[in-house]
Amino acid sequence: MDAFEKVFEAKLEAEEKIEPKDWMPEKYRKTLIRQISQHAHSEIVGMLPEGNWITRAPSLRRKVALLAKVQDEAGHGLYLYSAAETLGVERATLLDQLHEGKAKYSSIFNYPTVSWADIGAIGWLVDGAAIMNQVMLTRASYGPYARAMVRICKEESFHQRQGYEIMMTLSNGSEEQKAMAQDALDRWWWPSLMMFGPSDKESTHSAQSMAWKIKRKSNDDLRQQFVDVSVPQAEYLGLKIPDDKLKWNEERGHYDFGEIDWDEFWNVIKGNGPCNEERLAARVKAHEEGEWVRDAALAYAEKHSNKQKVEA
């Protein structure tokens, strides 16, 4: 271990943040770039399934709330790309990796939003699962990432309450609305559990990330925590979680639950989910159609680098 590495390890040990100009092992840098950019991609791809309901939201209040929420996701994407840039990689490069299918994003966004209740279920479950992960990341060892997560978590927890409130309204509504809410829970429950990633014994990156204090809890621990908080929330809504094996285990002090369909899990990751192609195609289309706009903005800035003021 050389002197630089000793300083790095000592900082980790002392729970001090690693900052952009600090020395860090190349693998630590690469792991962070991979994780932060995946996270950023997830935010912007995640805009699509929810954005799908903006024009059809059932009331003005809901429309405005949904727009604001999807806009927040874009904002999260921005902070995260900026955090990744502190590690010496450009946003454009990361976007190219996404568009070429080389970078991953959260598989949950490859599922379709087919009813209004899906907007509630996503807020409640998907944002809820994301928060479990992200609260842990506010303590990540890399400073810019941890700080971005603090702000993101505040907004996500607002989104989660908003989603749960949609579910509550539906559950207290007409029979049709209750059925809509149950149907959404049926479809989003398992994909939400999959958000925590492969089980600990299958997870390739987990051990190293925990040693580097990027990650603080294992996938299975987080998943258990999510199940434990979600069950009473579903009960309060009067909805049934679609898992026959779900049962309180007095001895463990946790809920036992059924096995995830890992075949589906790996298939969606490999690109065979219901909306993988559409999601990527939508991002690529927006990017390609925006190219002339970005080029023109650069050309204009170069032409007018002396900053003329416009009077109009």
Partner: protein, 250 residues
């Protein structure tokens, strides 16, 4: 009289609703993240303004009890928005030209409505103008940047301008209601804004090195409830939930 004021508020709100709805379609599909965020902001502001107009209209109206009835449960011919707000997001050039041509009108309108003798309308205008000043700055800057950017962007912007231009006049053509409300000191006759509107718009377009199109046929009819072919599709999205599941709370 109260019902007439409600109708006027609805006419004002309809432009905001329909343009807000159009911009909402773009959320997640913008040419860059920053632009996506800004366009969504404008959409949010416009929908917020819509709510202010419609909530007030619901208080004044004989026909409606709440903002959602007004927004979602009218027939096409009862919407009073101008055609410009219905135009599709063909590409970013069309979107930003449409936005600029609307924002300049909107700013002049609200500046005048800030003198309304109706206290609530005055308050709505006073709050909204702050937002609209920002919208105008954003759309104006982009019109200039893209008009005077690359050869490609100039061609695209000129094409978009040529398409959207003929919808400008309707913004400034008074409806009977406009004239009546102006007479009462409540509203604005947009005809009075016309000269300043075209002067300001042309100066920006010249700055953007774009050619002002010839005035050919000017679109009209929105304020009388006769809309473009696009409008039915906008409503089928907008009204989908309320029509499919009537009389429910969301």
């Amino acid at each position: 009289m109260k019902n007439k004021i409600a109708k006027y508020l609805i006419q004002l709100g309809d432009n905001c609703l329909i343009l807000g709805q159009r911009l909402g379609e773009l959320c997640g599909h913008g040419p860059a993240l920053e632009i996506d965020i800004a366009l969504t902001n404008i959409s949010l502001d416009l929908l917020g303004q819509t709510r202010a107009y419609f909530q007030y209209a619901a208080e004044m109206s004989d026909d409606f009890d709440n903002e959602d009835q007004i927004a979602f449960l009218r027939k096409s011919s009862d919407y009073r928005n101008c055609h410009l707000t219905e135009l599709p997001n063909t590409d970013f050039a069309h979107t930003i030209i449409r936005q600029f041509l609307f924002d300049q009108y909107h700013q002049l309108l609200l500046t005048d409505l800030m003198n309304s003798n109706d206290e609530k309308l005055k308050a709505i205008a006073t709050k909204s103008i702050k937002e609209v000043n920002y919208h105008l700055r954003f759309s104006k800057d982009w019109v200039i940047r893209l008009g005077d950017g690359t050869e490609t962007s100039k061609v695209k912007m000129q094409e978009a301008l040529n398409t959207v231009w003929r919808y400008t006049e309707e913004l400034l053509r008074p409806s009977e209601l406009d004239i009546e409300m102006e007479g009462l000191g409540i509203g604005t006759n947009p005809d009075q804004l016309k000269e300043e509107y075209f002067e300001k718009v042309k100066s920006v377009l010249q700055f953007a090195t774009l050619e002002i199109p010839e005035n050919k046929f000017f679109g009209k009819g929105g304020k009388e409830g006769v809309h473009t072919e696009h409008f039915g599709y906008i409503l089928s999205d907008l009204q989908y939930m309320q029509r499919t599941y009537p009389n429910q709370q969301w």
